[in-house]
């Protein structure tokens, strides 16, 4: 008997079930989406993220957002392939590199750049999180550089987890990797003392942009 057969057979024996037997009716998923006006969502998001040591900026347009980025970065930055960064003009800024086609060069760039710039597919107001789904967001850009800067469209500011899982009941269909990022990397493993930037970024800036993308 293979391990697969053995485990499945042990499980069935323990449960008194037979192979191919349908499961009992699933409990209904609990999804409750509160009604929160968009400005209030942004306010809540900012409050939650800043408690964690993140910083929220506001910009009317993507061009304004690029100016905010310009004021934050010094030296080099690596930008993900998110379309919004090109649209905003971030990828054309001095010192910003992007469009890495192969992994070794992306990795090398992320390992040395002091700033990583990404888009964010959603914001979650209740927790102060940003969400990245999809191929254009390299994982390492929001992970290796010590400072992470993300551009988030205000229209993508969701109330929280429940709304996200309503829009993406199966996130795996859209991407091999969906990540919620809630503040800067942290640890309290030594004497419960908070330390930021243990493996991921020490600082996170989220620029919330009013302009709607068509």
């Amino acid at each position: 008997m293979t391990s697969r057969e053995q485990i499945l057979s042990d499980v069935r024996k323990a449960l008194g079930r037979t192979a191919g037997q349908a499961p009992a009716a699933q409990p209904k998923a609990r999804i409750v989406i509160p009604t929160i006006a968009v400005e209030e969502r942004v306010r809540l998001f900012q409050e939650r993220l800043e408690v964690l040591g993140g910083k929220v900026h506001r910009a009317a347009t993507y061009a304004d957002a690029a100016r905010v980025v310009g004021g934050l970065i010094e030296g080099t930055a690596v930008a993900s392939n998110a379309a919004v960064l090109r649209y905003a003009g971030v990828t054309a800024m001095a010192g910003v590199s992007s469009g890495y086609g192969d992994e070794p060069s992306l990795r090398a760039a992320c390992a040395s750049a002091p700033f990583g710039i990404t888009g964010a597919d959603y914001g979650l107001a209740e927790t102060g999180s940003i969400v990245t789904v999809g191929a254009n967001e390299a994982r390492l850009v929001s992970l290796l550089p010590p400072v992470h800067i993300a551009l988030l469209s205000k229209s993508r500011m969701l109330t929280g987890l429940d709304e996200f899982y309503t829009l993406h009941p199966r996130p795996a269909l859209a991407s091999a990797s969906t990540v919620f990022i809630t503040g800067p990397s942290r640890s309290a493993d030594i004497e419960m003392i908070l330390v930021r930037g243990v493996h991921g970024p020490r600082v996170i800036h989220v620029i919330v942009v009013d302009e709607e993308l068509i």
């Binding site: 391990s3 697969r4 053995q6 485990i7 499945l8 499980v11 024996k13 323990a14 449960l15 079930r17 192979a19 037997q21 499961p23 009992a24 409990p27 998923a29 609990r30 992306l106 990795r107 390992a111 979650l124 927790t127 102060g128 999180s129 191929a135 254009n136 390299a138 994982r139 390492l140 992970l143 987890l161 429940d162 899982y165 309503t166 993406h168 199966r170 996130p171 795996a172 991407s175 091999a176 990797s177 990540v179 919620f180 809630t182 503040g183 800067p184 990397s185 942290r186 640890s187 493993d189 030594i190 004497e191 419960m192 003392i193 330390v195 930037g197 243990v198 493996h199 991921g200 970024p201």
Partner: protein, 471 residues
């Protein structure tokens, strides 16, 4: 009395006498308790009880239909391009990883925090075969360098002070001595960054397996799990079969509970939902993605419809922080990887009650664990059931040993009148459970007083009857 038992006694005594450890563990668990209470209060989270009930219901349903969800998970993971490996025990997990490492010429691998791999001593197996596993969670890394073992399922190095950490880093990494946690963390960041970028395989655990998505969900705060699962070419997630949930949508419930219960966070810093290797067009991510589904005693536990709920655990650690016994005797006096109340119920069930007959007695039955458990596991009830089994089996003069062990617990509880009163209050609130009144040093109580249940029928008899009745 065996040598092991004498040593065990001695260990407990020395922990209780060690004021440094007592202070460290007491204050850390107090902080975690307090932070949890703030974020699950009726003001902060009015739906808290409803979330707990739903979480309990989902876990119950999933485990009752586990074979179905295991196969569904396999189907969806495979469709995503991932590979599923079934492992009956720790040896099969290690054999698979060793085989793959050999095939791919991998000599060093990075690991993110995983209690499951602790449970099977994976690192020992790998090291014995010339593979170097590097722990990357800050606490786990320090523990590994110190050749120690985790003290707490959420805070592995909670028993060490920053001066201990300074010693460990200085001695093992040959760096200048640093006594500030911030600087110590930066030493670890620098050292481990190189490892992440050089490792051929990344091994993670998994907090949830999502059947409808073929995905593994991993939560963490440092970013080391993201690095472990993103930087190396190969990602292997080693996960117990009980971590299954049916749908991604169920995470809306579990994620709200897990961060809050564990560390008082609304969400941990990173929540990764990983459903296979990198896809065409992905800028990065592993080329190969394996999920190792491990049994290692879990199916044995599944058969008992009452004790099955032990498998609902989402490893938040709240029951450890709440437990007066854990806070006193610490994490290293529990055998196996899991300490505290959850360890006291799963370790004897995974590995057999005969090995550690005293374990179910390492509790005051005050009920604090059940009160904080986000998935509503009735830990005291299971402890009672296990005590009964110990006494019935009379394993290796268990009753006299268990009795003695329980008396020890009782003795130090008595020395802490405040704690005793609180424990008694909570205990007596739990309807149907004997509180501390039956925990007194009456002669032979373990056989004659503690074991009888308050109910006329024992759990076991009731279970048998229910089963006969077609349930």
């Amino acid at each position: 009395m065996s040598l092991i038992q004498i040593q065990q006694d001695e260990k407990i005594r020395s922990t209780v006498a060690d004021s440094k450890i007592q202070r460290a563990v007491y204050s850390a668990t107090a902080r975690l308790k307090e932070k949890r209470s703030e974020v699950v209060s009726a003001d902060a989270l009015p739906e808290y009880q409803e979330l707990r009930t739903q979480a309990n219901l989902i876990k119950k349903h999933t485990l009752e239909n586990l074979d179905f969800y295991l196969e569904e998970f396999e189907k969806n993971l495979t469709a995503n391009g991932g590979k599923l490996i079934w492992a009956r025990d720790g040896k099969e997990v290690a054999d698979f990883i060793l085989g793959l490492a050999k095939e791919r010429g991998v000599k060093m691998l990075v690991k993110s925090k995983s209690m499951t791999t602790e449970e099977i001593h994976l690192n020992d197996h790998l090291e014995a075969h010339g593979i170097d596993p590097v722990e990357t969670d800050l606490g786990e890394y320090i523990i590994q360098l110190a050749h120690d073992r985790p003290y707490h399922i959420v805070a592995p190095a909670v028993h060490m002070t920053r001066l201990d950490v300074a010693d460990v880093l200085e001695k093992n990494l040959k760096v200048e001595r640093e006594e500030e946690p911030e600087k110590q963390a930066m030493i670890a960041r620098r050292t481990l960054r190189e490892k992440f970028l050089a490792a051929g395989i990344g091994i993670s655990g998994g907090n949830f397996l999502v059947a409808d998505s073929g995905a593994v969900t991993i939560i963490e705060n440092e970013g080391n799990a993201r690095l472990t699962t993103s930087a190396p070419r190969i990602h292997i997630a080693v996960v117990g079969i009980e971590k299954m949930i049916p749908r991604a949508q169920d995470l809306a419930v579990f994620l709200k509970l897990l961060g809050r219960s564990g560390t008082g966070q609304l969400l941990t810093v990173y929540t990764s939902f990983l459903s296979g290797p990198r896809r065409a067009g992905d800028a990065d991510g592993p080329d190969e993605f394996y999920v190792v589904l491990m049994d290692n005693g879990r199916t044995r536990l599944l058969a008992d419809s009452e004790k099955r709920q032990s498998l609902y655990c989402i490893r938040c650690g709240a029951c450890l922080n709440a437990c007066p016994v854990y806070r006193k005797i610490g994490g290293h006096n529990y055998p196996g990887a899991y300490s505290g109340p959850i360890g006291a119920i799963i370790t004897p069930q995974y590995h057999g009650i005969k090995e550690n007959p005293w374990l179910p007695f390492a509790s005051s039955l005050c009920g604090a664990c059940a009160e904080v458990c986000p998935v509503k596991i009735d830990i005291p009830k299971i402890l009672l059931e296990l005590r009964k089994e110990v006494v019935e089996s009379r394993a290796a003069d268990s009753d006299s040993f268990a009795e003695r062990k329980a008396f020890q617990m009782y003795a130090w509880m008595m020395r802490k009148p405040k704690l005793y009163a609180l424990a008694g209050k909570i205990g007596s609130k739990l309807a149907g459970l004997p509180g501390l009144t039956s925990f007194g040093p009456a002669a032979k109580w373990a056989r004659t007083r503690e074991v009888p249940r308050p109910a006329a029928k024992s759990f076991r008899d009731e279970w048998r009857d229910r089963k006969k009745g077609g349930r």
